[in-house]
Amino acid sequence: MHMADALISPAVGGAMWAVTAGLIGYSSNKVKKELDDRKVPLMGVLGAFIFAAQMINFTIPATGSSGHLGGGMILAILLGPHAAFLTMASVLTIQALFFADGGLLALGCNIFNLGFFPCFVAYPFIYKKIVGDEPTQGRIMIGALIAAIVGLQIGAFCVVLQTFFSGISELPFGTFVLLMQPIHFGIGLVEGFATAAVVIFVWRARPEILSSAAMSMTIGGLSIRRVLIGLLATAIFTGVALSWFASTHPDGLEWSMFKTAGTEELEQPEHGVHASLAHIQEKTAFLPDYSFKTKTPEHEAEEQPSWPAVDPGTSLSGLVGSALTLFVALLIGLALRRRRGTKA
């Protein structure tokens, strides 16, 4: 149920991948520097545990639906933020590669949404602050609940932002937010309860696990502000660099304007308040045309749109051509298979 490639533009996907790659590099560095090489098998096995745990559903009493453990919080509690981030990233990678749960380009977004916020934001700033060094049942429950809810809310909001800025889906921002946030509040509640319950179980059975995990983690070295500034810079740089990928085709409004009035945008008066305000806007808008597009009206008038317009001839040729191309592709595939058959 993670983000799919089909809903992402290269600019957004690339920017998020740059951020995620930076985070993976940073976390790998921290993990390497840690002298405890017990972490190596522990990360792998705990990752497999989370993977297995995500497949076991329990029924939620009042609603009749089922929930399952997400895993980010438990990993952060047992491994610390850096190792937990790497583990969560690896689990998401396997889900993307084997179960196509989330695309390869969207993997950057998914790792960021589901890994960064629980491990680097919710855990150190919420859970750790509430539970501190003396865990009690109540503190663990409250800490895990609030951390899970906040982490998931921010993560869900990021999904909305990434889908919106990609511009492939027509889902309006407001509707999407109203859809995502309440659902993920419920999911966060379930995750918080499940995490808290399992952690309390482990703490009751073997308290030394939690205390040794807490001791072996050096949260002090985490300079979150520097990390965040670095991430922001990377995201903006990559987004701008990849904007040349963006389409030069007019969007719906400009297209319909072009068809009705012959120009993509309204004529600006040459003088007066309008002109000076427009001039100021031109200078100050750092994301002109709203979504990473860098087109200007003159370019659209010249450029021949390469998708079928309301022109019966071109639409029909597009359809016919597509069917033919698909047919040719299938023929090539069949030919290859037969060639392999006779060779083998």
């Binding site: 196509a100 179980f201 595939g333």
Partner: protein, 270 residues
């Protein structure tokens, strides 16, 4: 089969597919990884109304399936199983965007429907590309390719360990789930009260297992460094594969071949 059992079978089956032998399997994994990524980025870079331009891109998965002798039905079924999520988001497009974009005879198609099918096509293309990467290459080989391409060593090691122990842990978890369901009388799902101790015990066993694994590694000479040894060669086949497909992707991105083909055919007959 339970959900866990299904996943177990899935991963194992993909691994079996990857151990086959074909010209596709024998290619260097780095080349396959990079070409797949280029494919995905090119497909995703089209604007939201692109539909006929996307069709020629099917040649890439079709080529891989045929050359690698991979099962089409199995892959299609996997894609179909996860398509509801993309379709759920995509269905808003026809609802929101009602401007007429296409006119075929007397039928007018709104822009929303065009973008809906565009999203579905993109989905089909990108998802099969990702699945084919593993089915034709194998996970461990992809990991070594990643390590060679510069991905940080701790992350690659983590991926390999995770893969290795997924089989062990899903086995253990499925045994526990089966044991609980055999001993319980109500037919509904597992209650929270049962879930927590089960998960807690699984976690404790996992931590103990990690301890045993670490000791076993120490006994076999583990000193903190992981060495990945695998011979990979970039030969003539690899270069042809990479350059050929990249050039094709660029051409298909810049020119709408289906439309040209269609115009040709209609001009010929009309």
């Amino acid at each position: 089969m339970t959900k866990i059992g299904n996943h177990f079978f899935d991963i194992g089956y993909m691994d079996t597919l990857a151990s086959g032998d074909s010209p596709l399997h024998r290619l260097d994994p780095r080349v396959k990884l990079i070409t797949t990524l280029a494919f995905i980025v090119t497909v995703v870079s089209f604007d939201k109304y692109a539909l006929s331009e996307l069709i020629p891109f099917f040649i890439f998965p079709i080529f891989q399936i045929s050359l690698g002798g991979l099962p089409t039905g199995y892959l299609l079924r996997k894609v179909l199983m996860i398509s509801p999520f993309a379709a759920l988001i995509a269905i808003f497009n026809p609802l929101m965007d009602r401007e007429i974009l296409l006119q075929i005879g007397s039928i007018s198609v709104s822009g929303g429907w065009v973008s809906f099918f565009s999203i579905l096509t993109r989905f089909l293309l990108t998802v099969t590309a990702a699945l084919l990467l593993i089915a034709a290459t194998g996970f461990n080989t992809v990991c070594t390719a990643l390590a060679r391409l510069g991905v940080p060593r701790p992350f690659v090691v983590q991926l390999m360990f995770l893969y290795r122990y997924i089989f062990v842990l899903t086995d253990e978890a499925s045994r526990m789930v089966r044991a609980i369901s055999l001993r319980s009388f109500h037919s509904g799902g597992m209650s929270f009260k049962t879930f927590v101790p089960m998960m807690g015990h699984l976690l404790l066993r996992t931590l103990d297992r990690a301890q045993r694994i670490h000791l076993a590694m120490l006994c076999r000479g583990f000193d903190g460094r992981i060495c990945i040894v695998r011979s990979m060669k970039i030969g003539y086949n690899e270069v042809v594969f990479a350059i050929g497909w990249s050039v094709l992707f660029v051409i298909l991105r810049c020119y709408n071949i289906p439309k040209m083909l269609g115009a040709l055919v209609i001009g010929f007959f009309g």
